[in-house]
């Protein structure tokens, strides 16, 4: 003998130990990856999607009375207010519509704009309320409600507009001019349709970064919806906004009007239909006009234009 104690005595101890460690590690990874999905589903707070039983989502939401919505941290369309509650045009309208459906507890998840659809499909939340434009491409991936507002596009430029930029076509006409766009936004397509070459486009992941780049002189123009540009220009110094315009292609033909709606997973048709029905009622009785025009930069014409359109106009 020669060994006493509570240690394993076999020579193959190291192998056993290694195997145990590897097993523990594998278990930790697997448990961590799968473990929490069930409680999350049960609470209905976020991960209720993606299970294929999309038909039950509306009932599930109405039963729990709570929903998680996805917003993109873009004033005034949607952001987290000082009280921690989702604020902005899209969350305001969505909250009003959801209240009609008996869903009163609205929580928000903030993700990057370009990540809104991916996270919706992953089940992080059940509704996109970010004033997202309805486009044919997006309609392939998600369902949209009818639009609740339409808007013109605008550009922010350095004070005095040294390059004389007026719209996308004037950016395309000046090979020296560079323009910032946010990834995944509808403006990327408008700029391309207007003939702006790729090397004049700088793609940013977030709204704030684009305007910081303009202030720093890294880009000559930043594009966005007129209200966003107005809000950003008002809060910053040294930049100004051009006259808002409707986007046209390189030949001057009108492009699909930019109008925003609410996004749903493809399998949640019943939820979308119920939401849309209530939204149309609120559009008709003027509630949405009231909610949306409360924010600066939105006119009754913007809402009236949307009220004359349904989601099928965007296919």
């Amino acid at each position: 003998m020669g060994y006493r104690g509570n240690e394993p005595t076999t020579r193959s101890g190291s192998r056993r130990w290694l195997r145990l460690l590897a097993l523990v590690a594998a278990f930790v990874v697997i448990a961590a990856a799968c473990g929490d999905s069930e409680p999350d589903d049960a609470s209905g707070s976020g991960g209720s999607g993606g299970n294929g039983d999309g038909g039950g989502l509306l009932a599930q939401l109405q039963e729990s009375g709570s929903i998680t919505i996805g917003i993109a941290n873009e004033t005034p369309f949607g952001f987290v207010g000082e009280d921690g509650e989702p604020t902005g045009i899209a969350p305001d309208v969505a909250t009003a519509v959801l209240a009609e459906l008996g869903i009163t507890d609205v929580n928000a998840e903030v993700v990057e704009f370009g990540q809104l659809i991916g996270s919706l499909l992953a089940g992080q939340y059940d509704l996109i309320a970010a004033g997202m434009y309805i486009t044919p491409d997006r309609l392939q991936q998600i369902l949209f409600s009818d639009p609740d507002y339409c808007t013109k596009e605008s550009l922010a430029v350095a004070e005095g507009n040294p390059l004389g930029i007026a719209d996308y076509r004037s950016v395309a006409a000046d090979p020296e001019a560079t323009m910032a766009v946010a990834t995944g936004t509808v403006e990327v397509g408008y700029a391309e349709a207007a003939g702006v070459p790729d090397d004049q486009l700088q793609v940013f992941a977030d709204i704030d970064g684009m305007y910081a780049a303009l202030e720093a002189g890294e880009v000559d123009a930043v594009t966005g919806t007129a209200p966003t540009v107005d809000t950003q220009v008002a809060a910053r110094s040294g930049i100004e906004a051009v006259e808002p315009f409707f986007p046209v292609d390189a030949q001057g033909q009108d492009l699909v009007p930019p109008c925003g709606g609410y996004g749903f997973r493809l399998e949640n048709q019943d939820f979308r239909d119920a939401f849309n029905e209530k939204l149309d009622e609120l559009r008709a009785d003027g509630t949405t006009t009231e909610l949306i025009t409360a924010y600066e930069g939105f006119s009754t014409e913007d809402v009236a234009k949307a009220n004359g359109l349904t989601v099928d106009d965007f296919r």
Partner: protein, 245 residues
């Protein structure tokens, strides 16, 4: 000085964000250390397939950028497997922990290899099993070499936690962005420098705390090895006595 401070309610938002950041750091650190040790030791296994598995893990974990790994685990996997998304904090920690484990495993492997062979040989002469050799002779000495780069890596992971703001977790970074939007909406305090200078201080302080913790750990270890003669654990002492007698 006054101009460099934020509103009290904004500090409250930052405080909540900091707690989330610390939570993510703690979980990913825990997972990272377990993975580091497991795969670091496995890289030196006598069995070829164990070494192979560990090598594949290390190269994948180190080679994939953290943000890609984060999106794969948090967004792509739930969509592909058609399962609900687990808690985002958890998914973020798994991604960061796997990433840390890849780097950490190499630190552990290098540290074990840096221990003179004579230590192992002496342990063999004392009739210690391979497990005991690792636990009582090699790893304790390797720990002194492991700690400094591990502290480095932990600070790296602290800064890496800001990536989770991109998948929708409200950490310090996301709290700062939320505050920024409120500022823009209220058209107040448009100076973004003040906001991010505050964030910078928070990250700096956290990094110094980690730094301090590892320094203390290093000093304790140094005292154990360079001060008075080290006491061997009971089991090892008996093993030695057994050989002698």
């Amino acid at each position: 000085m006054d101009g460099w401070l934020l509103e009290p309610n904004q500090y409250e938002l930052l405080r909540q964000g900091t707690l989330v950041t610390l939570q993510i750091l703690a979980y990913s650190f825990g997972l990272g250390v377990v993975l580091s040790l497991a795969f670091g030791v496995a890289r030196l296994s006598e069995r070829r397939w164990v070494r192979g598995v560990a090598l594949v893990y290390v190269e994948l974990a180190r080679g994939i950028s953290s943000i890609v790994l984060l999106f794969v685990i948090a967004v792509a996997v739930p969509i592909l497997l058609d399962v609900g998304q687990a808690s985002l904090i958890l998914l973020g920690c798994v991604a960061l922990g796997i990433n840390m484990g890849g780097y950490g495993a190499e630190i552990v492997r290098g540290s074990i290899q840096a221990i003179p062979r004579g230590q192992s040989e002496a342990a063999i002469a004392l009739n210690l099993s391979p497990t005991q050799r690792l636990r009582h002779v090699v790893l304790p000495q390797a720990l002194r070499i492991i700690l400094p780069p591990m502290g480095n890596l932990t600070i790296e992971i602290l800064k890496g936690t800001s990536l989770v703001s991109l998948i929708g977790v409200t950490d310090i970074m996301q709290a700062a962005r939320n505050i920024r939007q409120q500022q823009l909406f209220n058209a107040t305090a448009a100076d973004v420098t003040v906001l991010f200078a505050n964030i910078l201080v928070v990250y700096f302080v956290l990094a110094q705390v980690i730094n301090l913790a590892f320094r203390l750990g290093e000093r304790r270890l140094a005292r154990r090895y360079e001060g008075a003669a080290a006491e061997l654990p009971v089991a090892v002492e008996h093993a030695g006595a057994g050989i002698g007698g």
